[in-house]
């Protein structure tokens, strides 16, 4: 069966591949009828749990006195480490995340115990009554301090090609710089939530807002001392995930299940927003340093890049996050001689975790600053320097990790975008505006994105699907991916509609369920439509093949002459019948109408020891031009206009893909501008609610925007209908805003290289303007 577009006949059916269909749940969303985990009606007698949190970032636990908790109104029981029949762990990779801390606490917000009560309010009130005696220990709260103290969760990794030091030393020019990039709270609108219902004979039904039901299943089973067959985890939808529900929900599910096992009653655990902020990990903050050698035209000769991440207290996904940071420290640029160092620092913060981009954005931030700094040092347009260093198509096309970039379209994207957005003309206009004086300065920047698709843990690149066709011709689809708003179920159902040539409305995609498709990978790494789309396609093709063979035999035509089109099936000239008629006939002929599908991404694989090989099946590309205005008195900034050209291959659903591009972009803007996590000197998070932690709001979307999917793009690899992944890459388009702000800062200070950390809050912008003015004119009072 060809996997390319020739088979497509979307116009013949409603909701085939490539059609801009609304999200499958859109009508349920707008009417309030969509059911999220917290909305599921639970039996009478359901208990509500709350977690008792450590107020200390680092301390030795001496005594945990829960008498007052136990005696509080409405409380049924408390749970501590001694109530765990199995393993006291919710760590996904390394078993270093206790469900309830014992011995030592390692972050403020760490779970110490849980309380079960007859209402959520009673449980939360009671949880505050614990008397915790502990001996404070010195907390480590940032990557640089951790580095100085050699505090790591994992060993440092290094990747080198050629002799970076020699190349830098022999280059006509060199430059050093540093940058800190802050973390980011996921701020899914639906907070973490799980519920557990004990069943007969040592079984447990779990509902959980999770991107990774299989892992929740495994960890719940392990903490109960059971095996995976005893636990069913379901998730119909999440109210946002963004990586924050990849490993984090397991803690809640484990506690709910432990409570359900102990009491024999259903238990629900929903974190309120403040607890959610305090308990769960964030995007990894990074401390970044570079040393680069280049020529007078800005061509990079050699680079040494040091990426030190703040991993928080445990390993979680930090190995893979830092691996991806390392694999994206090149972004779109060829680095001939290069050394990349990746430090994985241990701090006394929640274990930082997956977040859209998964280390990639932090790696890219460094190299984008390198090229921008080179341009500003040389007094050139940064876009010129960026272009000069782009990967080539025939030469200069091998990444530091040894993978040849075969699908490079960044040049075309940037050329088209620069023309469409009139980058050159507007750069001139911005310069004129800035030359006219006043208190405001504008800045403009174009930044590119190249993002590798595939889990870097190669074994995760697999997926399964389960497809039932009922005798009335309706179709029930289940696959291993989870729906968090990204439209995965819509896209996968469109694939099935396309394959079977039936209208989309015939197909229902059901809740992700560990008892339907086993051993699934997290819905992550942008790859879920690639993986689950292919798996569902395989299942649909199996059904189609069986139906075609049945029709061929029944009507006496070759199987190839059986055509599925527009809800009908034609068997040569012998028969032309509705899909459901054929299905009914097949049923009577005892043809199996249920099939599984499976997919494993081809071609990929690399050596985790040397970090070389082909970690990615292909790359996604995109670029953005942003223009900002900055207030030189206050540091306030405003995004005025954005132009984006992004590559999603042949889109499975352009409306959904556009939504991912726009939403990812603005989420990235938040990360780099207004979203500031502030911890106090004792390691307590001060920004733990939307009143203090500011994600973008409606006025942050610019008045002028032109967002387009590259219409000519087609994945050169055999992906599902030649589409490309879209979840993560657009987030990094927001680097254009950060660099536009740098551009405005430079203008405000009369040129030079700004020193600006992320997020670029008004305070940091004002400080950067004044610092650069001070460097440009040392005589001037700061």
């Amino acid at each position: 069966m060809p996997a390319d577009r020739p088979e497509r006949a979307s116009s013949a059916i409603e909701g085939g591949v490539g059609e801009a269909r609304p999200h499958e749940s859109a009508e349920l969303h707008v009417s309030g009828e969509a059911i999220y985990t917290d909305d599921i009606p639970l039996p009478a007698g359901t208990l509500h749990a709350a977690i008792g949190l450590s107020e200390r970032a680092h301390a030795r636990l001496l005594k945990l006195d829960l008498d007052a908790v136990q005696g509080a109104p409405g409380v049924v029981t408390v749970l501590t480490a001694t109530d765990i029949p199995g393993e006291n762990n919710h760590g996904p990779v390394v078993h270093d995340d206790p469900i309830f801390a014992t011995g030592e606490v390692e972050y403020a917000g760490q779970s110490l115990f849980a309380v079960l009560a007859d209402s959520a309010n009673a449980a939360r009130r009671a949880a505050r009554l614990a008397r915790v005696e502990c001996q404070d220990l010195d907390p480590v709260l940032d990557a640089r301090t951790a580095l100085a103290r050699e505090s790591f969760v994992l060993p440092t990794r290094r990747l080198a090609r050629g002799d970076a030091a020699a190349a830098i030393a022999s280059a006509p020019r060199c430059l050093q710089g540093s940058l800190s990039v802050g973390g980011q709270e996921h701020f899914y609108l639906e907070g973490q939530v799980a519920a557990a219902l004990p069943g007969e004979d040592c079984t447990m039904q779990v509902w959980c807002s999770t991107q990774h039901p299989s892992e929740v299943q495994r960890l719940v089973a392990h903490c109960l001392g059971w095996s995976s067959k005893d636990v069913v985890v379901q998730c119909r939808r999440m109210g946002g995930g963004f990586g924050g529900k990849e490993t984090q929900p397991a803690l809640l599910a484990c506690i709910a299940a432990l409570g359900a096992k102990k009491t024999g009653r259903p238990v629900k655990l929903r974190l309120d927003r403040d607890a959610d902020f305090l308990v769960t990990g964030k995007r990894h903050p990074f401390a970044l340093d570079y040393d680069v050698g280049f020529d007078d035209d800005g061509l990079i000769r050699g680079a040494r890049l040091v990426l030190a991440s703040n991993c928080g207290r445990s390993v979680d996904l930090s190995d893979a996050v830092n691996g991806r940071a390392l694999f994206h420290a090149d972004n779109c640029y060829f680095l001939p001689d290069v050394a990349i160092v990746s430090h994985r620092c241990k701090t006394h913060q929640p274990s930082h975790t997956a977040f859209r981009g998964f280390g990639g954005p932090q790696g890219m931030m460094l190299i984008e600053c390198v090229v921008d700094d080179i341009a500003r040092t040389l007094g050139r347009d940064p876009l010129e320097i960026r272009r000069r260093n782009f990967y080539g198509t025939d030469s200069r096309n091998v990444t530091p990790y040894g993978m040849t970039v075969e699908d490079n379209v960044i040049g075309r994207i940037v050329d088209e975008l620069a023309a469409r957005a009139d980058y050159a003309g507007r750069r001139q206009t911005v310069a004129e505006f800035n030359a006219s004086g006043g208190l405001l300065r504008r800045g403009i920047a174009l930044t590119p994105v190249k993002f590798g698709i595939s889990f870097t843990s190669t074994h995760l690149n697999q997926a399964g699907a389960l497809l039932h066709v009922y005798t009335d011709g309706s179709i029930l689809l289940n696959h291993g991916g989870t729906e968090m708003g990204q439209g995965l179920h819509t896209k996968v159902a469109q694939v099935v509609a396309e394959e079977l040539q039936v209208d989309l409305r015939r197909i229902r995609c059901t809740a992700t369920d560990t008892s339907k498709v086993p051993n699934t990978s997290a819905t992550a790494a942008s790859a879920s439509s690639d993986l689950n789309g292919k798996a569902a396609q395989a299942a649909a093709q199996t059904i189609r093949r069986r139906l075609a063979e049945f029709a061929a035999a029944k009507y006496g035509v070759p199987a190839e002459a059986v055509l599925f089109r527009a809800g009908r099936v034609r068997a040569g000239e012998a028969a032309d019948l509705a899909f459901e008629e054929l299905v009914m006939q097949a049923y009577h002929a005892r043809v199996p109408l249920s099939a599984t599908g499976f997919y494993a991404t081809p071609k990929i694989g690399y050596d985790p020891q040397t970090l070389t090989g082909r970690p990615f099946f292909y790359f996604c590309y995109g670029a953005a031009v942003s223009e900002v205005v900055v207030d030189t008195l206050t540091g306030e900034s405003k995004l005025l206009r954005v132009d984006i050209l992004h590559d999603v291959g042949c889109s499975l659903n352009p409306a959904i893909d556009l939504g991912q591009v726009e939403g990812g972009f603005l989420q990235g803007v938040g990360w780099l501008t207004s979203e500031e996590l502030v911890w106090d000197e004792r390691g307590r998070l001060l920004t733990h609610a939307p009143s203090t932690y500011k994600i973008p709001a409606v006025s942050d979307w610019p008045a002028v925007f032109n967002v387009e999917l590259a219409p000519w793009s087609r994945n050169r690899e055999d992906t599902i209908y030649r589409s490309k992944a879209v979840g993560e890459p657009p987030l990094m388009l927001a680097m254009s805003v950060f660099h536009a702000i740098r551009d405005a800062i430079a203008a405000a200070a009369g040129g030079g290289v700004p020193r600006l950390d992320a997020p670029a809050t008004p305070e940091r912008i004002l400080a950067a303007i004044e610092e650069l003015r001070g460097r440009n004119d040392p005589g001037r009072a700061a």
């Binding site: 609108l189 907070g191 963004f242 206050t634 207004s674 920004t687 709001a697 008004p762």
Partner: protein, 483 residues
């Protein structure tokens, strides 16, 4: 069950009579837990994300006023006499989606869908109150709803699209009659294990209730008190609600001043203030989201006395006075004298803030109020500065300067004011006033800003004021910057 101890409100045409709830039960919890109406979501329980947005309908003159509020911090008894509209209410009798809902579907305005009911309700409130909103009105209407998925573009598109469909009109006559039938005319009194709640309908009744229980919590809009319950899990055993005392709900003009009553919402108070002082447009726009401004009151902001309350710097500059009332009578104070120390106001036992009097506009007054935060919409100020300057021959004839976020209370910058008096209104002239600011305030470092930034920006805001009002005025704010 229809007596003083029963809350009555309308929901989908039916009167709900509730007599058995704790007074601090939130509308959100009531909807989700008691009624099983789970379309309304909890995103933050502090009125900052909008996932819980519902609409209240009330009689207003001959018509009905629809306003979005946050169900998560609204106590159920405050619904008494009102109609509640939730996302489940909007489908037509034939099951058709409301234009706000349909537009959200067709514009791809939902992704994860969790914020969507809240957006739909804000759009519904806009639909009911404005037939031709411009882009800025749309953004303002949505400024209290956070979406983490879409980037807002498709939601902005939906806000325009919903007007392109055939208009859907609520059946107002019937609703008016129903609202009239449950109009609040008696003092609601709830007394139960969850605490007591009294909602007098007259000012005298309020004063008497407070005299009886001087330590009771005074509740108006509840945009702060609500958080004491939802965020701090505080018990409020004794609540006196101002909202039903209709005498407090007016903006009166008398003696050259606007007298803004204690229960006038921020929305209505700013509308009245902007008619006098259009220069306060930015602070009014950025003060808070519509759901907060619809519930919260200006007097509540003033009475609460937070050092980062954004109304007070401008009000102090304008010479506003507070009218305090207890059973013994009323007294008046200049607003700045009302603030004694951090969250400590000059309130005597049994006293409540009855109104704020703001002098009417006078020609020649240069007025500005600036808010500095990390985000344009719905943020808390790092610094909020206000300046009221009168010039004569290019020199400062009179100056009042006040700041929020710079001290334990909203405060005048007296040294700065002294230095401005008589100074030339130019860069050199204001230099001593800027220097004086350094001794007027010793700001603190907190999660919003460092002390250094606060001090620097406070000074720079005076520069901005000058730049905007100098003879050759220049645009000095990114928010008003025209492309």
């Amino acid at each position: 069950m229809d007596g003083n101890g029963t809350i009555r409100f309308l929901l989908d045409g039916e009167v709900h009579a509730v007599a058995d709830c704790s007074p601090t039960t939130t509308v959100l919890d009531y909807l989700r837990e008691r009624l099983g109406r789970t379309g309304t979501k909890e995103g933050c329980a502090e009125g900052d994300c909008g996932a819980c947005t519902v609409v209240l309908a009330e009689l207003a003159g001959a018509g009905i006023r629809y306003r979005a509020v946050n169900a998560c911090i609204k106590f159920l008894p405050t619904l008494d006499g009102k109609a509640l509209v939730t996302v489940e209410s909007l489908r037509g009798a034939d099951g058709a989606l409301h234009p706000a809902q349909r537009a959200m579907v067709e514009c791809h305005g939902s992704q994860c869908g969790f914020c969507t009911p809240g957006f739909v309700m804000s759009l519904f409130a806009l639909y009911q109150s404005d037939r031709r909103p411009g882009d800025e009105a749309i953004r303002q209407a949505l400024s209290g709803n956070l979406c983490r998925c879409t980037g807002y573009r498709p939601i902005l598109a939906a806000a325009r699209r919903m007007y392109e469909y055939p208009e859907v009109k609520a059946c107002e006559r019937e609703l008016r009659e129903q609202l009239a039938a449950i109009r609040v005319t008696r003092e609601l009194r709830l007394d139960g294990p969850g605490g007591s709640y009294v909602a007098p309908v007259t000012v005298a009744g309020l004063a008497a209730a407070l005299a009886e229980r001087p330590s009771a919590t005074i509740l108006a809009g509840g945009t702060d008190v609500g958080l004491w319950v939802t965020k701090h899990q505080r018990d409020l055993p004794d609540i006196i609600y101002l909202g039903n005392a209709s005498e407090l709900s007016t903006v009166a003009t008398a003696n050259g001043a606007l007298e803004i009553g204690a229960t006038v919402s921020l929305t209505d108070a700013f509308a009245a203030l902007l008619a006098e002082y259009p220069e306060l447009g930015e602070i009014a726009r950025r003060f808070a989201s519509p759901p907060i401004c619809n519930a919260g009151t200006l007097c509540g902001n003033v009475a609460n006395g937070s050092p980062i309350g954004d109304s007070m710097p401008a009000l102090i500059c304008l010479g506003a006075r507070v009218v305090l009332r207890n059973a013994a009578g009323t007294r008046e104070l200049p607003l700045e004298d009302f603030y004694l120390d951090y969250m400590k106001q000059d309130l005597r036992p049994g006293e409540f803030l009855q109104s704020v009097c703001v002098p009417r506009a006078r020609p020649g007054l240069l007025l500005r109020s600036y808010k500095i935060g990390k985000r344009y919409d719905q943020d808390i100020s790092a610094v909020c500065g206000a300046f009221a300057i009168e010039l004569a021959d290019g020199h400062v004839a009179a100056a009042r300067v006040a700041f929020g976020g710079m001290a334990a209370t909203p405060r005048r910058a007296t040294g700065c004011e002294r230095a401005l008096a008589g100074a030339a209104w130019n860069a050199a002239g204001i230099a001593p006033a800027i220097a004086a600011l350094a001794s007027d305030f010793t700001p603190i470092t907190d999660l919003r800003a460092t002390r250094g930034y606060r001090a620097r920006v406070a000074a720079n805001l005076l520069h901005r004021m000058l730049a905007e009002t100098a003879e050759r005025a220049v645009a000095a704010s990114v928010w008003t910057h025209a492309r």
